[in-house]
Symmetry: C2
Subunit: 465 residues, 2 copies
């Protein structure tokens, strides 16, 4: 039995990841194994996402895993942010290395070293590249999918002629993340700008999408950084512009990781297990035959062969388990649609269907069965529920004692903030809540929730993963 969410959400999460066969602990501290069922979700995410970024003219490539220590040190903010969590290679081929090599915690430095070689003229710009790779960050408190020493991600890197172009690109990458989260993962996300204290080490600013989990905490699901000319100057990435002048490029970088799978679990899952949106579910439909003997089995087999399931990822569970056991198992695994077929369904030319999200059981005629329509409805419903959940758990608060009460219960709190990092820090210390993001559109003005100074900026506070 799965622990209930209301009992212990963290325990529910860990148990579910293991029981649903998404991932397992490896013998290497903090490193997980992504099992086939979990990896299939990642493959579906990759496939759809890769199309979206290629449409932007971004091309995939592959850069080295190793980063010389001297490279990491070239951008002052960057090394300060990442050095504490780097894994170091000191020996290779039985010899001590002259210079330590970092395992990439992110690839700006090793990629931009190549940019400085490849980019010469305005004709080479914009330069847009992406890689799907493994990343290592020495996490002290690892958690499956959410924070592991090693994880998989995509990292996009672009270089532009003008500051404006880089700004547009930073936003465009975020828009893709937001669209993808909503359209494919069925997760309604908050998008906006991070405060300076939460931005990427080496960026001018960072944009992010943030998603509310079922326990009221927020997970950062993707980030897009405007790097300005910080790395261009550190790595001497210059181009000859149309007026034949040497100029530094303007850059962006952006990434989403296997952490998204953690978000998927906690944004939709319930006490019965996962709820997977059809667009990224490894199996979109599972068919459970219910038969007592070989004759019934054959009848059901031929009935199944009549089902219109073209282009649907489906599985027929012919295993020896009882129907009840199978229902539980596939609910745990979050398969969007279950079809039950017994002798009664065959005789009456009907199907019993159960949608994973609503758990509503329906008997429909074989004739009216339209699997694509049903899956589309489920996909839509999952997003609608997510939107509702965010709406019901977003609170506009103007009073700090109320703020503390609400934050403690969980959810998103929208309040005015003066822009001073001291207020931000004090709030964090008192409530453990951080500013998740600053929405792009601001219209009203009010008073900072902490110091009471006049402010034109409302921000989202929450406790975060």
């Amino acid at each position: 039995m799965l622990t209930k969410q209301s009992q212990d959400f963290a325990k529910w999460y860990n148990e579910l990841v293991l029981k649903a066969d998404l991932a397992d602990y490896s013998s290497v501290r903090g490193c997980m194994v992504i099992k086939p069922y979990g990896y299939a979700i990642w493959e579906n995410i990759q496939k759809e996402f890769d199309k979206k970024i290629k449409e932007l003219g971004v091309k995939n490539a592959y850069f080295p895993l190793f980063i010389p220590e001297s490279f990491l040190k070239k951008e002052a903010e960057h090394v300060k942010g990442f050095a504490p969590e780097v894994a170091w290679v000191t020996h290779g081929g039985n010899k001590k290395l002259k210079e330590r090599l970092a395992i990439r915690p992110t690839s700006e430095t090793i990629i931009y070293d190549m940019f400085s070689k490849w980019i010469q003229s305005y004709r080479d710009l914009p330069f847009k590249i992406n890689q799907w790779v493994n990343i290592v960050r020495w996490e002290m408190r690892p958690r499956l999918f959410l924070r592991t020493l090693e994880f998989l991600w995509q990292e996009g890197h672009t270089a532009h002629e003008t500051e404006k172009e880089a700004e547009i690109m930073t936003k465009k990458a975020l828009d893709i993340y937001q669209d993808f989260a909503q359209e494919y993962l069925g997760i309604s996300v908050i998008s906006g700008k991070k405060t300076d204290s939460e931005k990427f080490a080496g960026a001018n600013y960072t944009l992010s999408i943030e998603a509310l989990m079922k326990d009221g905490k927020v997970l950062q699901m993707g980030t897009s950084h405007n790097l300005g000319q910080n790395f261009a100057k550190a790595f001497n990435i210059k181009f000859l512009d149309k007026q034949e002048k040497q100029k530094y490029v303007w850059q962006t970088s952006w990434g989403v990781s296997t952490r998204m799978i953690g978000g998927l679990i906690m944004a939709h899952g319930d006490d019965k297990g996962l709820i997977l949106p059809p667009k990224i579910a490894p199996y979109q439909t599972v068919i459970i035959p219910i038969c007592k003997n070989a004759k019934e089995k054959n009848l059901i087999k031929s009935y199944i062969s009549k089902l219109e399931l073209k282009d649907v990822r489906f599985e027929v569970d012919w295993s020896d388990q009882t129907p009840g056991w199978k229902f539980n198992e596939w609910e745990l695994k979050g398969v969007p649609l279950r079809i039950e077929i017994g002798p009664k369904e065959v005789k009456e030319k009907k199907l019993t269907i159960v949608s994973r999200d609503s758990l509503k059981r329906e008997v429909i005629s074989l004739k009216s069965f339209d699997v694509n329509k049903i899956l589309e409805d489920i996909q839509k419903r999952i997003l609608d529920n997510s939107k509702k959940f965010v709406k019901n758990n977003t609170f506009i608060i103007n009073n700090f004692s109320e703020f503390k009460k609400i934050i403690n219960k969980g959810g998103l709190v929208k309040s005015f903030w003066c822009g001073n990092s001291k207020c931000e820090e004090k709030i964090k210390q008192e409530t453990k809540a951080t500013i998740r993001s600053i929405p792009f559109k601001q219209s009203e003005s009010g008073k900072c929730i902490k110091c009471g100074n006049v402010s034109k900026t409302q921000v989202f506070f929450a406790k975060a993963y």
Copy 2:
């Protein structure tokens, strides 16, 4: 200008990899950057190959990059073979680690540690898993694609109930490699068994596909290992069989890597550049418009829109370069089919087409243009040429002085071998040639090319990469 193959084949190769934008040297010794054009070939290989292995019931997963030193040491032969080329992580998160972590040089040990946890009963078997990952081996003499400190590959790992099943699986994986090399890469390969001195460290035996390069040397393109119960015993991978007895599993592992791209270059390329088989070429067709003014340009544009190019990966080169420059550039990049369209072609409703492999220029009517047929013909011709090349460069030799002469010129030499590793070693010392593989089918008998003892085994000798 590209160095000629006949002048200096190694120089030709390196120049071509760089000029065709396949890869570049990184600032990290021995590590390359796979550029978008090279990576697109890898993506096409992955896509097609992944389908083939999924059809075998193999599922993708992801295992940690790090392998504890104690794991690597569990299988005695394995550690002896791999320890000299391991990169070691000794520090993480600013602390010295208690146990060094190897960056995976191959993943048997870290994967089989999980197998011992996951496999309990005969019901769990066969267990078939694969991962697409980066691998690090500390190479002393790195060469782009052929031998780099880091490379990309797939590694399949299976566990079976019986020795026989593992034997069949080992061969099946090799068959897939052979089919893939021929059907997709257009490379005629030699398949067979490696000698004990050339087998995988920890395997009972290794099968391989070997391909003859244009310089007469041979490249190992893929290997499949029968691991017997060696790792099962080292990692205690046991299952309860149908008679409820505890037994060790029988295992296989098999892999192909980005080295394949090196093979692709050297098996087909010529003095003008790459020759890419249509099935894996990033662009299958390039259209070169030949126009002097805006009016002609518009005519050609609308003419191109009439071309039937559905499902074809194509590019129209509208850049400012001269047609001659473009011809050279796309020939260098190995695009299978070039279509030239000028005012003459538009007027006469014709197309000028040039196949990259034959460089034959043809004028055909727009009506008769069937791009899929043309690409199929090119794909077939590339394989036919490869077959011819292998045939013309395979020599059956029974006399050692002749053997030395032929081996020195290059090519595959088929000779009898007594099976003694001393003869194998002496031949290697005297000629630099190794036994590339032992063909599966043997019928004749003769005398060992070195010692003259009676032998029933003919083998392929060659100088190898």
